[in-house]
Symmetry: C2
Subunit: 96 residues, 2 copies
């Protein structure tokens, strides 16, 4: 199991719309192969910033399966308009 | 409940020592008021980087309780020598 750590900055004043779009997108992740959980965290000190954490069975489930599927286009269609800049994405394995 | 999101960069080649130090420090967090969970994630694309995620009952439990306690000094004593730069710390509340 790995986690996708996605640092997102949204356009000012669009937080409610962005959060509603991520809620709507949960159905996409629920049906995606290897996707186990979605967490969205709102940064207290920087109200336009979020950390989206997605638990994937394998790195390939995200990079090959999801990213190359129509589901990825649907996800970007829902949330892409809220991004102030391209999200910063890395993957991580749990040590503790 | 809030999460402390701590982005850590360690000095090259010190990963094993750093991870052992965080394991050792779990006892500190276990006894800290309001600390519910510690997660340590190792960034796959950037092997010198980690995301430490600590679940606190309230923001004050971290900033006032922990940061101003001798436990914080003990924590920094264990891990501070591994840091390549000052960690980047923010706090976040869960939306999803």
């Amino acid at each position: 199991m790995i986690r996708e750590l996605c640092h997102i900055v949204v356009k000012p004043g669009t937080q409610a719309g962005f959060e509603a779009a991520v809620h709507q997108a949960l159905a996409i992740f629920k049906r995606s192969k290897g996707c186990h959980q979605v967490e969205l965290h709102h940064v207290i000190e920087k109200p336009e910033e979020y950390m989206l954490i997605i638990h994937w069975e394998k790195l390939e489930d995200h990079l090959e399966g999801f990213r190359k599927s129509p589901d990825y286009q649907e996800w970007r269609g829902l949330v892409g308009g809220f991004f102030a800049q391209a999200p910063d994405v890395v993957h991580a394995s749990a040590v503790i």
